[in-house]
Symmetry: D2
Subunit: 385 residues, 4 copies
């Protein structure tokens, strides 16, 4: 029997990190063939070119698709998605996958979902059913309605996908594959690499041996006009605390430039002798960095998921992770310098918390690959009520 061909479309650096163990598990599965498609910001330097990590990790890329339209507005997000559909349908037409896998809820993942579902290719969705309250949510739940298989990351997500009218037999709580990576670093006792040397970046090189903060804050699509103001609260807080800090640039998104511009302008006007800026970091190294940090500040889902598993304190800013299920590691604050500063001071004092498996137990990749090999190939469905 020929192997099932599984096309996975990666459109951004964080999505790659998240599903890396799924890719490995597909590649290692005797009945599966991995067709890795790399597209959108995953190909672009200014968002940390995931493609380089992918190739270094030994994955073969079946097709690359440049489809990010430039423009500091939401029109560009729509057009990027349109071009993505146009091109991915050609890619699928040529690769002829048995199943297409799409990850999470970034706007351009809709291109994968539409191309596959319109072409009657069974579509698997990783990480549906979550609640965040922004455009990501429209995208995420719409993809659920287009998808045939659902690999969700928590019990809450599973219930929600079923409530959305999906067949419970096709909804699987595999946990989030990002936890698979977290599992590998959970017992790490010290940072096993020098981040300045390995990842370059710009700015100061504070001594990390006495603890450090990590910042990762993305613009929120529905609030993109305010993204500059939002990032400034965080910048002011970090500037005022003046602790060793490792800061990661945001993803591409409408408004990315508001956030990036805010950071650049702040740097030009202030000395930041304790802050280093990174463009990106290989997923596992990033988890190591978090594992040994005092706390994570920002609005990345990594704080809600991987950090819950690692027991790392998180200061979660603003609405981006709004209604995602939480472990006991995070504190929610508004876009307010004071709230951010106070929350950081409290968290640093308290230190690590206990590990939560609310988002998985470290076996998601293997479970997803097994399901992809066994599930009936189907693309015809109807709402369950």
């Amino acid at each position: 029997m020929p192997k099932r061909k599984i096309a996975v479309v990666i459109t951004a650096r964080p999505s790659y990190s998240r599903v890396k163990t799924v890719l490995s598990a597909i590649q290692n599965h005797p009945d599966l063939e991995l067709l890795l498609v790399v597209a959108a910001s995953a190909l672009l330097d200014r968002y940390g070119s995931a493609v380089n990590f992918i190739e270094k990790d030994g994955f073969t890329i079946a097709a690359k698709v440049f489809n990010v339209l430039e423009g500091e507005n939401l029109t560009a997000a729509a057009k990027t998605t349109g071009i993505g559909i146009l091109e991915l349908s050609t890619v699928f037409d040529n690769l002829k996958p048995d199943i297409v896998v799409t990850v999470a809820d970034r706007f351009e993942t809709m291109a994968t979902a539409i191309a596959a579902s319109y072409m009657n290719i069974p579509l698997a969705h990783i990480q549906g059913g979550e609640v965040t309250g922004n455009i990501d949510e429209k995208v995420r739940h719409a993809i659920t309605k287009l998808a045939d298989y659902h690999f969700v990351a928590s019990e809450g997500a599973k219930e929600r996908v079923i409530k959305l009218g999906e067949d419970a037999k096709m909804v699987f709580n595999t946990g989030c594959p990002s936890i698979d990576l977290a599992e590998e670093v959970l017992e790490s006792k010290a940072l096993p690499f020098d981040p300045y040397e390995k990842y370059g970046g710009v700015g100061a090189k504070p001594d990390l041996s006495k603890g450090y903060l990590v910042v990762m804050q993305h613009p929120v699509t529905t609030e993109y006009k305010d993204s500059r103001k939002h990032i400034e609260s965080t910048l002011e807080a970090i500037y005022s605390l003046d602790k060793p800090t490792l800061w990661f640039w945001p993803n591409v998104d409408a408004g990315a430039d508001g956030t990036s511009t805010g950071i650049r302008a702040f740097r030009e006007q202030h000395q930041l002798p304790n802050v280093h800026f990174f463009k990106n970091m290989e997923g596992k190294d990033f988890l190591q960095l978090l594992q040994h940090s005092d706390c994570l500040i920002g609005n990345s889902s990594v704080g809600i998921r991987e950090c819950a598993y690692l027991g790392v304190p998180v200061i979660n800013i603003g609405s981006r992770q709004n209604r995602r299920d939480r472990g006991g590691n995070s504190v929610d604050v508004e876009y307010s310098q004071d709230q951010i500063e106070n929350a950081i001071l409290t968290s640093v004092k308290k230190g690590k918390v206990s590990s939560s498996s609310i988002y998985g137990n470290g076996k998601a990749g293997v479970q997803i690959a097994a399901l992809l090999a066994e599930l009936p190939l189907q693309f015809h469905k109807t709402i369950m009520y």
Copy 2:
């Protein structure tokens, strides 16, 4: 206060007929400005060029978008949608509507929904919440998850949209605007025009004065490889009954060519002395034709909706209208010559049935326009559970 600008995107002939009263009501509303965008198969001759009817009806077209990719396969449907997003986002960027309205569930309506929702333009969806069991259903429910306002056509649809996690305050059972047109012909006593003279078409010109059948059968997207076989059962039944019959060509869709090819081939091999073929007909004239017919055969939603209101018997073939709510006027049959023939004979004998308002009471257009003028402009939402 400036008028609210309402962009309505029409992508196919039947969609235009369906929402014509909505367009008029928007145009006549003192607080609204209509921006009519005509795209996809609505611009193409071989699907009955809705654009000609639109202009004849006196509507001004704000923009035209050619985006139908040619190809007898599903890839073309995906690509048509991608091109639609690319172009509609430019159109919206230039027209700057306050609200965008998308109609029903044809595959390319997703382009409207994505362009608007990604650009943070409030999106109204007409006719969500229905159940049919094919690709249309994936599209329809995904659009519900992208839309901000829902104008549904029945109580069943309203319940379903709310179950999908939408805010009940934004879900309105206005009835289907197609019933507004049906209302205007309900009391008609005789066919007020000569269809051969007014609409041309090809084939025989049977005498309609003693009753006649109407056939309208579209390919089913998820069964498109069988569309030729499916149409042949109907062709054989009509051929065998040899009653005066008016047959309408199908919409564009993946597989349209299977259906069309089947009809063409049958015509080349058989004499059909009682059958006339039309490409299309203005919506109200079509309802007049149904009002005075013995029964409608096929799988058009017109049989389930307008004919329920008109009390015209319908032979509904196959899965296309699968789980749509029914009035008492329809009989479901399989793709079987025998079943089709028998159902026609029984229906013709029984005659007209009583009118059902399950899909509306004839005021949908005016109600929808009033809501568009009053609803808060919002594009931020979250799932209700």
Copy 3:
């Protein structure tokens, strides 16, 4: 040394026939690897799906690109080209050819030329430098200005390309590869297949043993509004002469539908007891058909090229082949029933003429492959004056 990777993009049935010997010669060359890309109308059934012939001939297809936008107007031609660029650039980015080859002057070949030249991939153009006086000419000469190597079909074409400012060292009169195929049938004494049986088609099946006419008439892009009227002169002439006739449907082009519609309408209104219609024919079979015909009527370049080599009389109608170099086999007429009829009668009476090698000696494919293997890889050029 790795083989040079030569991407050839085929966008239409006649282009495939024309360069088939080039494809074989590349495939058989020890230093070359053929990357065959099939796009546009070459993939579509209603234009005779070249892709089926290509696969039957044993070529492996590296990528397929559906890019024909539907619409009976010139806008669709522009958009088809735009989509072609968008997609072919992804194809080239993934296949990484050393040289891209584009054929002739159909509007969508510009997509190949732009994608390759913009990506700094050396571009070879087959069949530049000819003169026809319509939109094809704008396209053809613009492609010459984008191309790095020129494989032209006649001395006149060579001179013209050099006058256009190209480096004479990069302009090669290889003859037209279509003549390679003609060479194989030149000595054929009888039609070696039954065209009705092998190619189906519709209409009468006249006896071919006493001679027959072949008709192939395409719409002219710059006159597309008149294409229906133009085809009617030819239809009337053929109808009036009532000789055994084999008629080929036109290519896709803006206006194709004018021509096709004209043919369909004529057939519905007239009995044509001596005319059979074909959608397409494998290139070599078509040449056999011409070789044994009385004459070819229409505006196909096959009349000017292959028929010159075969010595088959040609009635060349209208402006499409306007200023192409001629052998002694053709007569030019206007869109006039009388002129067409008279020219046919005269030609049939006179019979075959002597073979001309004005468009090549039957070795073009092998010569082009040899040049592709040896030419320096370069994409930087400047006008020579």
Copy 4:
């Protein structure tokens, strides 16, 4: 008689500056209606958002088209062009211009040329026939072959366009419209505005009263891999000379990021106490700045054209302006710090040279508008040999 509708497509800041007097002349012409389409990098902030200047100058924009695909490679240039065709054809289809005007030779101007010529809209090309020896040249001459009217900037260009086979009756040496602006500042005796105050920018604010240098250096498409190295020679020269310098960021182009990145990196590693950086400047202000400068350094065509008219010395670096006709004001140097330094020192010492009208006499805009009003509307042409 209705006014002729003239669509002018502006795709970049420098193109806007160049044709501003043409736009005004069209707008002021009693028989013409201006339809201004703004697209590509002209809409993007990081290339100096020409759209803001356009609106401030009082022009009404008929349509905006975002079509720049992001990516630091040539694939993006090809795709940007493809998207441009797709969208501009919709724009033209909706605006229905009588003539389309395209400017110069940037890669994306090909989109305008193809959309118009394929849609049988007469195409006017401003500034054909020049020689530069890079990809621009392929584009420029290909557009000449697609265009119906040629408004060229010098006698050399006129001869070349005619040699390319164009009808001499359609080739007009109007001079370059950029000279119209230069004409307005020729007599200016002092800089009439404070550039720091009016245009912001970053870096030092050297005293300009004792003379200053202006730098504008773009990446060269065919050498884009070297663009960083190329800009570094210039940076080193300016750093070493340490004179008051006003530096302009480059256009978007494949490789723009090499140039920009080079500048950013140099700034991080060196103090530049005499250099100020501008993103952009309104065309006439820029000419004022040049008029009062010591010399211009870089590879902008402004050095060859406007500066020739103004008599401002120019250090022209590298191959970008290779074979363009020269006035007596410029010195050509290689990408060499030494050569650049020496040439600057010599030029500064020598001072202003006499004005040359090789690129026009200041009346181009008015002449072009007059021709657009009078020329026969035609899109059918053939090569003249």
